[in-house]
């Protein structure tokens, strides 16, 4: 079975983002970029399924600027077999990405698509669900455990009150939660090997997808800063402050 794993290039999760002075967005120039952490978990899960003999091929796909190639190479260093870049300099919103991915799915015919549950830049948490809807496939979002059988996949999901387990017929779409697995570090030999793996580039127009954004960002601002608080000396003073000053 072939598994498709979409990956996104985002600002590294440790970076403290800066909003641009003209309020057009956040500063991306000279900022460390990395693979979206939820996508690393998705790649790891797909590679583990291959190592277990369940999957035969893992294909990583990314949509965006040319530098997304690096993100695909990272996926291949973790163990993906090949990469597909849908190259576009346009702002790609989740619906557009879902349509691009549907076109890739139609071509590649995977039995399983594993995505991260959300990208840590736009925090949308939409693409997997949208892809499943466009394909008419079942979905299991926020997965913390995945067991793939011959015809069905069992997925344990993280929900607000605890956990639930779904059984879905294949093909299916799964989105990963943080607790699904611990992604491995790519070793130097694997990084070198990844450079030789095939990486195809296509354009949105080749896939027949209109990627025009549906939402216009009018402005991006910093949230209101919290005023610096005070340090209290001991528990008695803390209680006094809470009762008399903060009134809680």
């Amino acid at each position: 079975m072939r598994i498709l794993v979409p990956v996104k290039r985002v600002i590294d999760y440790n970076v403290k983002v800066r909003v641009k002075a003209d309020q057009s967005g956040v500063e991306l120039a000279n900022v460390k970029m990395a693979m979206n952490p939820f996508d690393e978990i998705a790649v790891e899960e797909a590679v583990r399924l291959k190592e277990a003999g369940t999957a035969t091929e893992v294909v990583a796909v990314s949509a965006g600027v040319a530098q997304c190639q690096e993100t695909l190479r990272t996926a291949m260093a973790i163990g993906a077999d090949r990469g597909i870049l849908v190259e576009s300099t346009a702002e790609l919103q989740p619906l557009a990405v879902a349509k691009l991915l549907k076109a890739i799915v139609d071509k590649e015919q995977p039995r399983l698509v594993i995505l991260g549950k959300q990208a840590i830049d736009d925090d949308s948490n939409q693409t997997g669900q949208m892809l499943a809807a466009l394909l008419g496939w079942p979905q299991a979002t926020f997965a913390s455990k995945v067991e793939v059988g011959a015809e069905r996949v069992q997925v344990t999901r993280e929900i607000d009150g605890g956990l639930e387990t779904l059984s879905l017929p294949l093909p299916a779409v799964i989105t990963t939660d943080l607790r699904l697995n611990e992604p491995r570090y790519a070793t130097l030999p694997n990084i070198m090997k990844a450079k030789k793996k095939p990486l195809d580039t296509v354009q949105p127009i080749d896939l027949g997808v209109d990627v025009a954004p549906r939402l216009t960002t009018l402005k991006v601002v910093e949230p209101a800063a919290r005023g610096a608080g005070i340090k209290v000396a001991d528990v008695a003073q803390l209680i006094d402050k809470l009762k008399n000053e903060a009134k809680v």
Binding site: N14, N125, Q139, R214, L215, V220, L238
Partner: protein, 313 residues
């Protein structure tokens, strides 16, 4: 202009998050209609009819909604929108795991964008939402004919009671057969629900073990009538189940009082709690980033300070 709110419920009653979503819907200025899709959901439908500001309740009662699967629910929402023949301008659901699971599916079928976790409404087509783990606020304008939106519940008050909406049955969609629920394991707790609690006592890696977490924090939470939360570190270390997690990838909370105990305050954790009214941090590291957002900080060993606090309140 009709605004459709997709109710999150357990058949017997509405979840609190639905009430916050109704408030957001009311701000848009149109007729607010609640859709209750469930199996034996009479109780939830009655509760929905009593919510202030609701003009109509649509009930789709069928066994196909027994599992609350995204596939069947999304189909039902799409059916309701299509049947309204363009009258429905907005579809809203709470940005809980329920709403996040269902609504993007609805948006994709309607071929419109979804706007996630709005925290403010500027007009019927312009909304504010946090991005980058709450480190920036984006104002976005939608040109789509139907605006599909999830609502950050902590940003809107809960709607009150006092409504007397008409309840109308609608035909349920056919079962997609795409998904089957095989098990559900809910964390049972007598404490208030994390998302709705007025006071939250939250613990991090500083507690050291699951045993310490319960021994140190539970008596304090019980005395304050508080909910218990945790940082990702505490969840990953197995001190508490994952649904205790507060942060970008866990729950977003905004209580009156948030007590962070042994939590350093990583960006991802702050994303989930920095809209709390009053933040108190107890940490032995005076350099911990949590002190930059705390209204009151106590640099102390939590194993001494928390029991003192517990006996003093």
């Amino acid at each position: 202009m009709t605004i459709l709110v997709v109710a999150e419920h357990d058949n017997a009653s509405l979840k609190g998050a639905t009430l916050n979503t109704v408030s957001a819907a009311a701000k848009l200025g149109g007729d607010v209609v609640i859709l209750v899709a469930g199996a034996g959901a009479g109780g939830a439908a009655e509760a929905a009819a009593r919510v202030a500001g609701v003009s109509k309740v649509l009930v789709a009662d069928s066994a196909v909604f027994a599992d609350q699967s995204a596939e069947n629910l999304a189909s039902q929402v799409v059916e309701v929108v299509k049947a309204a023949g363009g009258a429905i301008s907005h579809v809203l659901a709470p940005a809980t795991t329920f709403g996040k699971n269902v609504l993007p599916r609805v948006a994709a079928v309607l071929d419109v964008a979804q706007i996630s976790e709005i925290v403010a409404i500027e007009s019927a087509d312009t909304f504010v939402r946090p991005i980058y783990a709450g480190n920036a606020l984006a104002t976005v304008k939608s040109a789509d004919p139907v605006k599909v939106i999830t609502v950050r519940t902590t940003a809107f008050e809960a709607a009150g009671e006092g409504g007397a909406a008409a309840v109308e049955q609608v035909a349920a969609v056919a079962d997609s057969g795409l998904s089957r629920l095989t098990g559900r394991e809910l964390t049972k707790s007598a404490r208030p629900e994390l998302g709705a609690a007025k006071i939250i006592v939250s613990g991090g890696r500083g507690l050291g073990s699951s045993e310490n977490y319960h021994k140190v924090l539970e008596p304090l939470a019980d005395k304050l009538g508080a909910a218990l939360g945790a940082s990702r570190a505490a969840v990953d270390a197995g001190y508490v189940p994952n649904d205790y997690q507060v942060g970008q990838t866990g729950k977003i909370v905004a209580p009156q009082l948030y007590l962070a105990v042994g939590i350093s305050g990583a960006i991802q954790h702050l994303a989930g709690m920095k809209d709390s009214k009053v933040i108190v941090a107890i940490n032995k590291d005076p350099e911990a980033p949590i002190f930059q957002v705390a209204d009151y900080g106590l640099v102390a060993d939590l194993f001494e300070a928390v029991p003192q606090l517990t006996s003093a309140v």
